[in-house]
Symmetry: C2
Subunit: 191 residues, 2 copies
DNA sequence: GGATTTGTAGACTATTTAGTCTAGACTCAA
DNA sequence: TTGAGTCTAGACTAAATAGTCTACAAATCC
């Protein structure tokens, strides 16, 4: 051949599809290659390791998720940021399962491939600074406990509210948004 | 020999210890046996399969966790039920990681061993009826959406609040109880 | 058109793991 | 004492899986 039959994106989307159908444990190099009818050699020509694939899959997904969240925070709208989770989940059920049902650790058990470390670090920092910005805006300070509050109301609660629907592969009902919003108001109205 | 050198409980606690140290993926039959310096044959003499071990581990742990929760509900104290999670987590850090950080599905991927199905079903029903009882008491009815509310405030939120500390193997700080309590009051005061 | 790059093709290796199987040691009851 | 039952002991099998390696085919460049 000499001209590429399979590129990075092909492997990534095959992996994504496998994860959607059978969970992330089904993302084996053999299954990904088989699904694409690609030889294993081609896979390892594109990716240094299985972890490199999983890491890239996780990172691109988390960045896609995070985008709307960051935008809402930058617009100064904390409630929109909290409600971003159910909204994004409704539009991206499969990817949301990937992202929220399995921790980053289930994905890449050992050390992250060097090529992705920087991206992951930047992603985490970006998220963290959103939380701090919100803490300052909503609670007047961005100390440890205000930031902890921000994490609770913008991340933990929305993800928790959505989890059981993710497990059942169904879009979260409107009640989920209500619960998140009520919690948001309660937590941001004091201190 | 003829007299038992290893019993069920030995294997269970070896598995528990392995999970605490290296995560549930480290619960392999070989590692459990090795830790106990028991031969594999003894393991399979006690347990029908690896899933039987994992299932029993999960079930005993969830029942231990659930006990205090049920007691609080039966005493009519919803807030105590919500705060039971951080309290139990503080007293049982390792078991809590086992229970709350990994879903039942990560534990026993396929079908549950027949011997445990009944126990799991009863456990789930018991939990469910607690939620309904609380829904009736707090929201006047136990329809779908009141029960959903109960799940949110008694289970999802407390677990979410505790999660990041579990990941870091540290006891949840008092702030976690505050967040849970504030959310509890907000969610139970309307409707 | 020959050399080089780019990539396919897939057999092969090594490791991990659940589970099986046979041998035999120890205990206890009759 | 002997026979039945209980349990240890660990070698062995089979399957799954990450990763390697060599051959070679096609495109591209000089």
């Amino acid at each position: 051949m000499g001209r590429a039959l399979f590129d990075n994106a092909d492997f990534l989307s095959a992996a994504r599809a496998l994860a959607a159908e059978r969970g992330p444990a089904a993302i084996t190099v053999d299954l990904v290659a088989e699904r694409l009818k690609a030889p294993k050699g081609s896979f390892y020509y594109r990716f240094a390791s299985r972890d490199a694939l999983l890491g890239e899959l996780w990172l691109t997904t988390v960045l896609a998720y995070q985008q709307g969240f960051v935008a809402a925070i930058e617009a100064g709208d904390g409630l929109a940021a909290a409600l971003h989770t159910p909204a994004w989940v409704r539009r991206n059920l499969d990817d949301a399962r990937l992202l929220l049902l399995y921790s980053r650790h289930d994905f890449v058990p050992g050390d992250w491939p060097a090529s992705l470390r920087k991206g992951v670090r930047e992603q985490a920092q970006r998220f963290e600074s959103c939380l701090k910005a919100f803490a300052r805006q909503a609670f007047g300070r961005s100390g440890v406990s205000q930031t902890r509050r921000a994490t609770f109301v913008l991340a933990e609660v929305p993800i928790a509210a959505v989890r059981q629907h993710l497990e059942r592969r169904e879009p979260p009902p409107p009640l989920v948004d209500e619960l998140i919003a009520e919690t948001y108001r309660a937590i941001t109205s004091r201190r």
